[in-house]
C-alpha cells in the first residue's frame, strides 16, 4: 500500500493550530466585573513553542515517511507533546499574567486557546488513522493534556480559582447530576422497554406509542418543569406515604391481574401499562429517597427524620414536592423515554419475520424466541438508545437547578447570574466531558454485547468464505 501522500487531516489540524495564534490566547480582567483584555500567545513567555510544535507536526504530515512504525511513533509523541504544550501554555500564560495582578484578577482561556483545542481534535483524529502506535495518539494526547491541570499547573487560571471557591460542593453536585440522570434513565428503561416491545408486537399500538413518546419529547423542558410543578406540589402536601404506596401498589396489582386475564388483548395491554406505571411510581419514590439521601450526605441538606418512615407521613417528607428532584426526575424520564422506546421498537422490528416463523414452527415458545433471538438481536439497538438517552438526560439535567434539584447546572446558573464566565465553564466542561465519557462507555459496551455473528466483520469475512462452496456429498 502506497502511503506517499501527505495526510490532509493532520495538515488541516496543524494549519488550524497556527491560525489560532492570530487570536487572543487568554483574556485578562482586573476583577470579575470589568471587561477583559485579550493577550496573544506569541507575546507571552515561551509562546514560540507552540508554533514550533505545530510546524513539526505539519512537516511530519506532509512528508512521505509515515509508512514505517518509527514515524508513527514520532507522530504520536509529537502530538502528545503538542497537547501538553497547549494545556501547559494556558496555565503558563495565566501564571505570568497573575504575577503582577491582585488576587481578584481573573485569567480565562480565549478564542486562540479554544481554536487550538479544535486543532488538536482534528489532528488527533487524523493521526489515529495512521498505522501502529499512532492509533493510540488520541488517548495519549488526552492524557498529556489532562496531566497539566492535574499537576496543578492551571492554578492561576480563573477556572482553578473558581474551583477553589466551590471545591466543597463541586463533586457532590457532579454526583447529584449523575444520580439524577441515571435514575431517570433507569425509570425510562423500566417504562420504555415493555412499551417498545408492545409497539413492536402490535401494529395498531405502534403509532400511538411512538407518537406519544415523540410528542413528549417536543415539550420544552422548562415548560415541562412548570407544568408538573403544581401537580407535585399538591401531591406532596395532600397525599400521605401510605396512600401513595397503596395507590401505586393497587395499580400494580390491578394492572397485573388485567394483564393475566386478557393477555395480549387491548384490555390486557392497558393493564400492563397500568402495572408499569405502578412500578414506576414506586421506583420514583425509591429514586427520590436515594437522591435525597445523597444530597443529605454530600451537601448537608435535609436528611430523613424517623417520622418520614411512618405511613401517615406526607409525601413531601420523601422529596415529592413542587420543586426539587421529583419534578426534575419526571421530566428527565419523559425525555429519556423516546430514544429507549424507538430503539427497542426498531431493534425488535429488525428481527427477520422468517426467523420467528421458523422458530415457532420448530416448537419454540414466544418467551424462548424473545430470550434467544429477539433480545440478542435487538440489544445493540437498545444499547444505542440507552446511549442517546443518557447523553440527553445528562445534558438536560443541567437545567434541573432551576427548580431546586441539584446538579452541575447549579454552577452554570450562578455563573450566568454573577457574570462569571469561569464558573459557567466549571459547570459546562465537566458536563461535556462526562457525557462524552458515558457515551463512549455505553458505546463500547454495546459493541461488546453485539453477538459476533451480527458484527460487521463477520459479513466481511463471509465474502471470501462463501466462494468455496462444498461439493454435494453423495450419500451411499
Amino acid at each position: 500500500m502506497s502511503r506517499a501522500r501527505p495526510d490532509p487531516i493532520v495538515l488541516l489540524g496543524a494549519a488550524l493550530g497556527l491560525a489560532a495564534l492570530a487570536l487572543p490566547w487568554v483574556n485578562f480582567r482586573e476583577n470579575r466585573l470589568v471587561l477583559g483584555e485579550g493577550f496573544p500567545l506569541l507575546g507571552l513567555p515561551a509562546g514560540w513553542l507552540l508554533p514550533a510544535l505545530w510546524l513539526a507536526l505539519g512537516a511530519l504530515a506532509w512528508s512521505s515517511w509515515r509508512s514505517d512504525a518509527r514515524t508513527a511513533w514520532l507522530g504520536a509523541v509529537l502530538f502528545a507533546v503538542t497537547c501538553a504544550g497547549v494545556s501547559g501554555l494556558l496555565g503558563g500564560a495565566a501564571s505570568s499574567l497573575m504575577l503582577e495582578a491582585t488576587p481578584l484578577a481573573r485569567v480565562s482561556p480565549a478564542g486562540g486557546f479554544w481554536l487550538s483545542v479544535l486543532a488538536l481534535y482534528v489532528a488527533g483524529f487524523g493521526l489515529s488513522r495512521w498505522p501502529g502506535a499512532a492509533r493510540w495518539s488520541g488517548l495519549l494526547g488526552l492524557l498529556a493534556f489532562a496531566a497539566v491541570p492535574l499537576l496543578g499547573w492551571w492554578q492561576d487560571l480563573g477556572l482553578a480559582q473558581e474551583y477553589a471557591n466551590i471545591a466543597g460542593t463541586f463533586w457532590p453536585q457532579l454526583g447529584l447530576h449523575l444520580a439524577l440522570s441515571l435514575t431517570a434513565l433507569l425509570l425510562a428503561l423500566i417504562l420504555g422497554l415493555p412499551l417498545g416491545l408492545a409497539a413492536a408486537r402490535h401494529e395498531r399500538l405502534s403509532g400511538t406509542v411512538l407518537g406519544v413518546a415523540g410528542f413528549l419529547q417536543t415539550v420544552p423542558s422548562v415548560a415541562l418543569f412548570g407544568l408538573v410543578l403544581p401537580v407535585f406540589s399538591a401531591l406532596g402536601r395532600d397525599a400521605t406515604l401510605g396512600s401513595y404506596v397503596g395507590w401505586a401498589g393497587g395499580a400494580l396489582l390491578l394492572g397485573t391481574a388485567l394483564w393475566r386475564l386478557f393477555g395480549q388483548k387491548i384490555a390486557g395491554l392497558l393493564g400492563g401499562l397500568l402495572a408499569l406505571l405502578g412500578v414506576q411510581a414506586l421506583l420514583l419514590l425509591g429514586g427520590l429517597a436515594l437522591i435525597g439521601m445523597l444530597e443529605g450526605v454530600w451537601l448537608g441538606g435535609r436528611s430523613f427524620s424517623p417520622e418520614a418512615l411512618s405511613l401517615s407521613a406526607p409525601l413531601s417528607a420523601w422529596g415529592i414536592r413542587g420543586i426539587g428532584a421529583a419534578p426534575a426526575l419526571l421530566a428527565l424520564t419523559i425525555y429519556a423515554l423516546l430514544p429507549v422506546v424507538t430503539n427497542t421498537f426498531v431493534g425488535l422490528r429488525s428481527v427477520p419475520p422468517a426467523l420467528t416463523d421458523a422458530a415457532r414452527g420448530l416448537g419454540m415458545t414466544g418467551g424462548q424466541i424473545l430470550r434467544r433471538a429477539e433480545w440478542p438481536i435487538a440489544l445493540p439497538f437498545i444499547m444505542e438508545g440507552i446511549r442517546a438517552a443518557l447523553v440527553l438526560t445528562f445534558g438536560i439535567a443541567t437545567i434541573a437547578p432551576l427548580i431546586g434539584a441539584g446538579g452541575l447546572g447549579f454552577f452554570i446558573q450562578r455563573g450566568v447570574e454573577g457574570n462569571v464566565p469561569d464558573l459557567v465553564l466549571l459547570g459546562a466542561l465537566p458536563i461535556v466531558l462526562v457525557a462524552l465519557l458515558l457515551s463512549g462507555l455505553v458505546g463500547w459496551l454495546g459493541q461488546r454485547l453485539t453477538p459476533p455473528g451480527l458484527r460487521p466483520e463477520a459479513a466481511a469475512q463471509g465474502a471470501e468464505l462463501t466462494e468455496a462452496s462444498p461439493e454435494v456429498r453423495s450419500v451411499s
Partner: protein, 320 residues
C-alpha cells in the same frame, strides 16, 4: 400418517381458502402440495403444526387430532423448513442446528455429535462450517443448515415450504438430488409445498394439486402428467407434461433388443429425457444401450418413445 379430514379454512372477510379438504399422507412418503399462488397450499401445510388453526374439520398426525396435542410438543416432533430458512443470525451454524435439542435439554456432547452428523450428511463438513455464522454462507448452504436444523430432533415428520425456491437452478438441482437420497435414508413422512411442476414431479411420491380451495387431483406424478383429471390440471402441469414424464423413467424402460447397426451409446440407467436428447443429437439414428458394466444390453431409436407411454409404468421408484 398425516390426515386432513374435511378441512376448511376461511380468513376473516374472505372466501374460503381451503374448502373441505380430505387428504392422507402415508407413512414414509413424500407428498407434494402444488398449485397456483393463493391456492392455499402453504395454508394447508401450516395447519399440520398448528401455525394456523382450521375453521372447521380436523388434522390428524399419528392417529391423534392435533388440536388435542400440546402445540409445542407437536411442533418438536415435526421438522419445519421454509423458503427463507430463518436461521438465527447471531448463532453459529452448529448452535442453529442444536437449537431445539438445547431447549429440550439434550446433553451438550450428544446434541453436538448429532449436529455434526447432520451437517456432514448435508454436505457441510463440520470442521469447516460448524463455527461459521449464517451470513457467511451462501443461500444453498443456509438451506442445508435449515434442513439439518429441522432434522436435529429426529422428527418423524417434515414440513417443507418451498425450501428450494429461492436458490439458483444449479444449487437447487444439487439440493434436490441430495434431498432425495437423504429421504430414502431417513424415511421421514414429508409434506412438501412447491409451485414448480418439475420439482414436484422429481421429488413427489404423490402430488396433490390444489386449486380454488379444493383438491383438483391427487395421485402419483405420472398420473397427473399423463391422465390429468380436468383442464385445470392439464393446464397447470403444462403443455410439455409428456416430456416431463420422461424424467420419471430410464432408458431401460424404452429399449429394444440389441441392434448391430446402432451407433453411439446411451446408459441403461440414464433418465429417459437424457437418452432422448442424445438420440436427437445423433440425428435420429439408433443407439446402443450400455449397462454400467460396459456390456451392450439393448438399443434405442426415436420411434421407441412414441406410443409406448401407455404400455409402460415407471420402473421402481419415480425419479430413481
Amino acid at each position: 400418517m398425516i390426515e386432513f379430514r374435511e378441512v376448511t379454512k376461511q380468513f376473516a372477510g374472505g372466501p374460503p381458502v381451503l374448502n373441505g379438504i380430505t387428504l392422507a399422507v402415508p407413512d414414509g412418503e413424500l407428498v407434494v402440495l402444488i398449485g397456483p399462488s393463493g391456492s392455499g397450499k402453504s395454508t394447508l401445510m401450516r395447519l399440520v403444526n398448528r401455525l394456523i388453526e382450521p375453521t372447521s374439520g380436523s388434522v390428524w398426525v399419528d392417529g391423534r387430532n392435533v388440536a388435542d396435542v400440546n402445540v409445542v410438543e407437536l411442533r418438536r416432533n415435526i421438522g419445519y423448513v421454509i423458503q427463507s430458512v430463518g436461521l438465527f443470525p447471531h448463532l453459529t451454524v452448529a448452535q442453529n442446528v442444536e437449537l431445539v435439542p438445547s431447549i429440550t435439554g439434550v446433553p451438550a456432547a450428544q446434541r453436538r455429535r448429532r449436529a455434526e452428523d447432520l451437517l456432514h450428511l448435508m454436505g457441510l463438513e463440520p470442521a469447516a462450517y460448524a463455527e461459521r455464522y449464517p451470513r457467511q454462507l451462501s443461500g444453498g448452504q443456509q438451506q442445508r443448515v435449515g434442513i439439518a436444523r429441522a432434522l436435529a430432533a429426529d422428527p418423524a415428520y417434515l414440513l417443507m415450504d418451498e425450501p428450494f425456491s429461492a436458490l439458483d437452478p444449479i444449487t437447487r438441482e444439487a439440493l434436490q438430488e441430495q434431498f432425495l437420497q437423504l429421504k430414502r435414508e431417513l424415511g421421514q413422512t414429508i409434506l412438501f409445498v412447491t409451485h414448480d411442476v418439475e420439482e414436484a414431479v422429481r421429488l413427489g411420491d404423490h402430488i396433490c394439486l390444489l386449486g380454488d380451495g379444493v383438491i383438483q387431483q391427487f395421485g402419483p406424478p405420472d398420473e397427473l402428467l399423463h391422465r390429468p383429471a380436468n383442464d385445470f390440471v392439464a393446464s397447470f402441469m403444462g403443455d410439455s407434461r409428456e416430456l416431463l414424464r420422461l424424467g420419471l423413467r430410464t432408458a431401460a424402460d424404452y429399449m429394444r433388443p440389441p441392434d448391430p447397426a446402432a451407433r453411439g451409446q446411451v446408459g441403461l440407467d440414464w433418465p429417459a429425457d437424457r437418452a432422448l436428447s442424445a438420440l436427437l443429437g445423433a440425428g435420429g439414428a439408433a443407439m446402443q444401450v450400455v449397462a454400467p458394466s460396459g456390456e451392450v444390453v439393448g438399443s434405442l431409436r426415436l420411434s421407441d418413445f412414441a406410443g409406448s407411454s401407455q404400455a409402460q409404468q415407471p420402473a421402481g421408484e419415480p425419479g430413481a
